[in-house]
């Protein structure tokens, strides 16, 4: 399979790959290794003095094809400094085009999206409590 430049760059460099530690860290996962795609996001939130909770740090782990790893890496890289939002930095279809993901592999991007929603849901619940 051929991969576009974005996929190759993020697959090979995998920025933000790893885990976060500490009580302020929220974790969200989606997918199954046995199904060929599993993604975990972890985020740490911060609330500056001027208010407005935002994401201070984000890391990911991913088991899957290069498209899965590359898009998860990109999402984690984009997250710090952003709002606590269940929306990906780009809609899934735009993400698919950016990384040249074949339509038949759209399900892999949905795993990335589900993992992101899961980590935001966990983090949001903590903020509310």
């Amino acid at each position: 399979m051929r991969y576009n430049e974005m996929t190759l760059r993020y697959f090979e460099s995998a920025p933000a790959a790893g885990t976060l530690d500490g009580p302020q860290v929220a974790t969200g996962t989606a997918g199954e290794r046995q199904q060929g795609a599993w993604v975990q996001f972890q985020i740490r939130l911060e609330t500056p003095a001027d208010g407005g909770t935002r994401i201070a740090a984000a890391q990911f782990l991913a088991f899957g094809c290069p498209h899965t790893i590359a898009t998860a890496a990109w999402v984690a890289e984009q997250a710090p400094g952003g709002p606590v939002s269940a929306e990906l930095p780009l809609p899934v279809e735009a993400l698919r085009r950016l990384f040249g993901v074949p339509v038949e592999k759209l399900g892999r991007l949905l795993v990335v999206e589900d993992a992101w929603r899961a980590v935001i849901a966990t983090a949001s619940a903590r903020v509310e409590t």
Partner: protein, 393 residues
């Protein structure tokens, strides 16, 4: 940046320089460019002599008679000619074929086409080593079986099947015809068409350092095998495969097979040592499972499943350093992993995360060490990204 080290010789091989030189002598005005079918002038006769010399070389390399050799465009055409040609001739006696689920698509697809035409096909399953026991074949034969088609060397794991055992079973069953796809065999293991008792055998040039676009079907005259032609228009090749012969191609195949037969043993020892060096290096990475029993496998092929990595990512990660095939013929998106590996007892994920390393004439120790380093680096990185903790053995 240097090219990746080539570990895909089971897919195709580069043309040997000695072969290319002989092919070149058949192309231009100062060479044997004539139509080998032309009679009555020197150009045609010169080309015909080259063709017949090549026919004798191919026959000698595989223990056949020159008259057994029918030139084709490759092993796929040979498989099709064998299956449909025998089927057309024998359909009055029965319409049942036996093959294996682990065959190449060049056999499986014609068998499926026969099924669409109302034939019945039985698909044998190999044991966990990838081997098909002749007794399993015996159990599948029926009164209306007219053809058995089984490969000699499996293209994915390199396992060598007991062709003589299959032939004996066919013989005991009233002379059911046996076709053998031997596309992977020449240069990798001994091939003796006459002694093994097969009726038909498919051969390929480009798996043995010959050119792409040429192969042969051996049709045993001694065993009085009859098939019907599938291509018409000139009556070449005993009327079984019409069309002007490509002199340079068949000369290339003849030269390649002569070299392969002469160098097989010495080359085999060298390559087997390299393959074992490769396996030892890969095994050190942890979570590496060898597919196929080494004693039953040709020296050139090593198939390994890797735990805790996804197959497509593993292939992509090593691609800058080595050219290798996945054990599966699929992209991970389709989810269909290798049936051969699943038959060995590998789960779907392991079948998908497998690499087939096929070594060849140009493979060096440096290539092997580069492969070990590339795979080791990729495994460590992908397992870390995937959050897996594989045990280093």
């Amino acid at each position: 940046m240097s090219r990746p080290a080539y570990f895909d010789h089971a897919s195709t091989t580069p043309v040997d320089l000695r072969v290319a030189a002989q092919m070149g002598a058949c192309l231009t005005a100062d060479g044997s460019f004539g139509n080998p079918g032309s009679i009555g002038h020197a150009y045609g006769e010169q080309a015909r002599e080259r063709v017949e010399s090549a026919r004798a070389q191919v026959a000698a390399a595989v223990g056949a008679e020159p008259a057994d050799v029918i030139w084709t465009s490759g092993a796929t055409e040979a498989d099709n000619l064998a299956i449909f040609g025998l089927g057309a001739h024998a359909q009055g006696r029965g319409r049942h074929v036996v093959t294996a689920r682990t065959e190449h698509k060049a056999v499986l697809d014609p068998c499926r086409e026969l099924e669409r035409r109302g034939w019945e096909v039985s698909y044998l399953q190999p044991d966990r080593r990838g081997v098909i026991d002749p007794d399993r074949l015996a159990a599948a034969l029926r009164a209306d079986t007219v053809l058995v088609s089984l490969m000699h060397v499996n293209n994915e794991i390199g396992v060598i099947q007991d062709i003589a055992g299959f032939a004996a079973v066919c013989e005991r069953h009233g002379g059911v015809r046996l076709h053998v796809d031997a596309a992977q065999s020449v240069g990798k293991c001994a091939v003796d068409f006459r002694a093994c008792g097969a009726d038909l055998m498919s051969l390929s040039a480009h798996k043995a350092y010959g050119p792409k676009g040429v192969g042969a079907l051996l049709v045993s005259r001694r065993r009085r095998v009859q098939i019907e032609a599938r291509q018409f228009g000139g009556g070449q090749e005993r009327g079984l495969r019409s069309g002007t012969l490509a002199t340079h191609q068949v000369v290339g195949m003849g030269a390649a097979f002569a070299i392969a037969a002469a160098e097989r043993e010495s080359e085999g020892w060298r390559i087997e040592a390299l393959r074992e060096r490769l396996w030892r290096g890969l095994a050190r990475q942890g979570g590496a499972l060898r597919n196929g029993a080494p004693a039953d496998v040709v020296p050139q092929i090593l198939n390994v499943s890797f735990e805790d990595v996804e197959g497509e990512s593993l292939l992509a990660a090593v691609a800058p350093e080595i050219a290798v095939s996945t054990g599966s013929a699929c992209a991970s998106a389709t989810g269909e992993s290798s049936y051969v590996l699943r038959a060995l007892g590998r789960g779907e994920r392991l079948a998908e995360s497998s690499l087939r390393f096929s070594l060849g004439r140009q493979t060096t120790e440096e290539d092997v060490d580069r492969a070990v380093s590339a795979v080791g680096g990729a495994l460590a990185r992908l397992r870390r990204i995937g959050g897996a903790c594989a045990t280093t053995k």
